[in-house]
Symmetry: D3
Subunit: 294 residues, 6 copies
């Protein structure tokens, strides 16, 4: 059993030779980012996510009249929905064992890798272009005493330097919109062993609607990202030996999260209306894709 | 509103200029086919399907001690599961109106088109390479008094001669394994309007497992078909502007149908064990793919 | 000599069967659009453009102290730069004769087709998804008494219905960002005769920089467009028998236009800073591509 | 002169990390296989083949009245035809010298490599997924005292670990139907030097006929293989810098072998009729392809 | 049975709208060409070919001492070899009946179509870019009284306007080097019915050797042609549903023709040495490819 | 800062394992080549180029009546034009620093690398298939005392063995016609860092005209090269992440060079008329392409 993959770089604190100035701007954004919606939710149980929630909301939290308590209950409810999303993703990673290794591409502050480790006991390598996020996540893993199995690396997910075929599963949780899918899926296909599992949850623009709507462009401007059309996921997977086995439109399931968040004055970032409008006018979708490396 | 598409051939009784000797052998098979599992089930409500069922079975039908009644109850239960499959497919055709037109590729004895018409009131054009099936299906439609909206044609689904862009939805219910997917999806993409919906339920071999297992080959030999790998569906869709929006592995859901059918002495065809073994050893999958024409 | 191409639709006032809801939103935008920067500039000489200018500006217009006169002189100067761009494009259309026919894809209020007709005496067919623009442009052509040679059509540039091989030249002047390039270039390649010339001036995002920058996304949101990476132009041309013969980076040449426009209070639309920042940080380029249909 | 290629694994007895469960089932089949038609024929001269014969048969062997002698003579005649096939393949390997190295992909019990070594004196590396076959073949080479030049490896032919560009020639003798051709030809193209020669003799289904016939599927089921259409060979070669220079339809030439084998009660495996029917109805072909690595 | 295909142009005397200036230069060449090696050989039996011969030569013709008789015998012998080539090509056209229609792409003075008609009684449509060749060939057919079945058209072989799927067989006899193979094979694939046969005999440069040798370029300069690499044939066929079934290197077989022609002072054109050197140094090949339209 | 890339071969004097016999013939040509037009021009200032010139000529050099002086002045003027071409190429290499490394593919006698080093102070690696050229060029660099930064290697430009991503810029100055562009651009893309710059000046045949004209073939025969169509450059760049940013037709600019050279009796090689005719009849173009590695 391999417990640590052979990699060409051994320190995670070294700066990433980022491929582009665009990626530098993304790294700057995330190095500086301290949105309460990410930090406050993570504080609840130490699982810091950077994604959105799914499932029906408990709207009663809005009825709470005490302002502080209302904030607390809304925060908790949003975190519950967010955690449900992370669990949904993790539930599709296949039958992993503690000896298996997983790759978390665009790990942010690290919540997803912890969720996978808690569920399967597996090794996890998270990668983020933000040095600050990698440090934060490693510190979290250390405090949880899983630092021997869960590690975060300050690297480029398109060019990880990790060992070919060493991973049983890998995923992107809302991090595909920062990179070219052709390069991304080539790297996942290289890292995964034959029969390995790839999962992504992502916002994509709906090419049934047409090109990107104004709302999609506003979201892109907000996060400095570049949301792909749905078609591009399937085209790039087909070109990289990743074969879908489960695809689910989570658009309806994520709307409650956004409706609730919109009413959380202490957490809103201003992009909530763009998401809600885009989901409702059909130009944007929240999609789960589960694929096998063949 | 177009009620009848412009087509280059107007009689359905004329022989199809089939493209290949292989297709002739398939047509011969279906012209001769009179399996009780297809005919007996269809007699129940006049909906003749040529596919398999999904959902949990009512196993109590096997407890029936009267042989004739047992046969009747098993037949009815299998038909119920089969009908559930047809309804699942139809439920994914999108928001159709009575003015819309749908294309049923490989319609067999016609059940699927009737199901769609009952649900949406839409026009339907079914196509089969078997003249006998087309006649049978048209007769059924006539008796149901939907012959003005539901028509079956003795044609090649790869080259229908139907009008470009005239269809709001189309599907293959277990009929993709008789044709090249590249040609098939090109024809669907041509017939569907922008934003139209394509649905297929199909058995595919699982290229996570590898190449076709012995059981898959036995199924091919039984039906004179050529089951495709799962990957080929997504590759050929990507090449023909069909973008998946929902993919569901129905393997677990179809096993009860096969377990029950295996115990129905009056209906078995001898291929039941190959299906059950293939589903259980992971070499074969029963898959639903829903895609948009973009 | 063919003076009018055979087309499948003969009235230009009929609504376009637009392919997508996205295109509907674009049509709505342009049907409603009445930006002074487009209307005021066009009034000067009846050449209504919807694009940007190139070349060094006469900055002395800003020194004019009389407010009305200053506005007038700034407007005239911007129009001069804008017209220089249109002339640059037209100068690359090849050696056209009065018998030749050209296709103006995304013609807006029609200025480009007039410019081509004035220069070469050729026939021109302009296409716009906005009925209002088509009407406006046809009225302009009528008043200039070139209505017999220059016609504007309310159609989809991806699916014009015009005659195959009937055009000696065609172009997109800042209108490629509303459509898929693969479909667009397929239509140009179909319409152009062998040896015909295609020209585009366009903003593209610079994939040397990486993915789309925040500024590029803000421009997308402003115009409801979807700016393509530079690479996509060359990929899609290569796939459609359009071979570049001249490529020129006009970024430096267009900056004076934007600097001047930014100071024109009566004309600014609010997007000026995004353009200037994007051009200067290297994430965006203003590009001329001239290609031959082979 | 390199006499032994650098490889990443040095022992041939280690288990192959097979890529798929399918390949495991194939290895199991061949580890267990002890068909007289393979073993009895090989005993004659120690050249163990796993393929079929070509050329006109000496039908007089059937006239032998002594049962034991008849068996012996039929066995010898089948071996003669089988050997003629191996010699035909070897004759197309190009002008090899004793210093050259050849790669035998899917070597079975090793006959083909010996034939090549006898003809050219060259080095040979055979690869089989069956450990038992590799051991058997190495033992044979040792007894023939060519163990220094002819070696058999228990490896996956899709991923040999052999040295890039080290081979002057390579082949598959009836072993392509167990693997994806795209992966197979990529490996051959990697191993062959520029100008190297690739040869295959294979059964393929004839896509002039259409999809796989029932007989082809029965052959697949018999051997747990997955016979490719003829078109796929040429498509995958074109994608991997293998350019055909000689293609020969051996269907007629192999029929005598099958007619004779069908009458050899001591050797028949039960699949003979499927082969004969498939060859005669035009759905199946026995094909020789000779190609250059460019 | 269709005896005449529907075509979009009905007169063959109209000038071809040639696609390129290059094709004009080729047409000029052939309109002016009056090489004795083509005309003198054709006079023997009225079968005018524009290709080379195959097979062993009767060298005794060179021993003839009477100069006139020697010329006559050499001419006859070269024609015999040339005719053998035409017969070899025709022998691979499949099992044609008098009701079938064949397409002769680049028919020159028409010999090949006559050969096919004599052998199978089939209809033939020859196409040449040279009006003079078309006229000459039609006059020949008229004199042979096969003008009702064999017709020559002054058209572009890349864009014949003939009916889709109307042809049972088609070929290029040394005429592929004047056109892009991608466009050529697309047209053949369009014209041939499913299962139809395509044959070409052609000189190609051998990409095993590398790029075009000096001799290949001299041949190109002599004929104003553009000899393709061997690889391009197989790539373009694979992209156009043409699947090889027989490929034969005729290089050795054509050398006697060239050796003899080189010694025929009354027939040499000056290019003989380039051919012989190119064939012998391995940079050039004379190739037969037989493929099925699938 | 890396001053020397890691390469797999350390001596430049070792013979290149050339990939093909064609390349051997090219190496032989250049090992033997001693054309005055290359040697005499280089002697002027020690910058030996193997390409053509651009810009208006000083025709007064032809008026010189003293024969020796006339030769000297013509030689100097041609060198001036030739040097202007090298400077134009070098001016497009991007903003290089002395720490950067550039790759000169097909460096000939080395002039281009020196020009780049003089302009930017950068490191340069030139590669030529001719050992004699490499030695000559290294000797030149040594004499100029830049041997520590400018090195020439006797290697195959398709397979340099240089370090991946180590180069800030690279180019081919009239050396692309000796190789397959697909392989060439793959190697450039591998060697260039993200954002690196590629430049080529090349003669290409104009596929607007059609296939290669007779004159283009004569040029091929003269140099044993294989001039590509213009389209192939853009297709192969698109497939290898090289995105054009500047394309310029230098045909008009190079004609003076050829007109002058044609009148230089001491320098003509006999190919001058073919160039002039080909440039003037539109079948040939002299093209500059500048592209970014993305």
């Amino acid at each position: 059993m391999t417990t640590a993959p052979v990699t060409r770089k051994t320190t995670t604190s070294a700066p990433v030779p980022t491929q582009s100035r665009y990626q530098n701007s993304v790294a700057e954004y995330w190095n500086a980012e301290e949105n309460p919606v990410n930090l406050e939710l993570g504080k609840i149980d130490g699982l810091y996510h950077h994604h959105y929630g799914i499932g029906e909301a408990d709207w009663s939290v809005l009825d709470e009249t005490d302002p502080a308590l209302r904030r607390e209950r809304v925060t908790a409810e949003l975190h519950r929905l967010e955690h449900a999303q992370a669990e949904l993703l993790a539930s599709h990673l296949g039958a992993l064992t503690p000896a298996d290794r997983v790759f978390d591409a665009g790990c942010g502050r690290g919540g997803g890798s912890i969720v996978a480790n808690l569920r399967y006991g597996c090794h996890a390598d998270g990668v983020t272009i933000s040095a600050k996020q990698a440090d934060f996540a490693n510190e979290t893993a250390r405090r949880r005493e899983v630092g021997d199995k869960v590690r975060y690396h300050h690297r480029n997910m398109l060019d990880t330097g990790f060992e070919t075929g060493a991973y049983a599963a890998s995923w992107n949780n809302e991090s595909t919109m920062y990179v070219e899918l052709e390069l991304l899926f080539a790297e996942h296909a290289r890292l995964l062993r034959r029969g390995g599992r790839y999962v992504t949850i992502t916002g994509c623009y709906n090419n049934t609607y047409g090109q990107a709507s104004r709302e999609v462009s506003l979201i892109n401007a907000h996060y400095i990202c570049d949301i792909h059309p749905r078609s591009e996921y399937f085209r790039a997977m087909a070109a990289n030996r990743l074969v879908p086995v489960h695809v689910e439109d989570l658009t309806e399931a994520t709307i409650p999260y956004w409706e609730l968040r919109k009413q959380a004055d202490h957490l809103v970032t201003g992009i909530e209306d763009a998401f809600l409008t885009a989901y409702k006018n059909g130009s944007f979708q929240y999609l789960l894709i589960v694929a096998d490396r063949v």
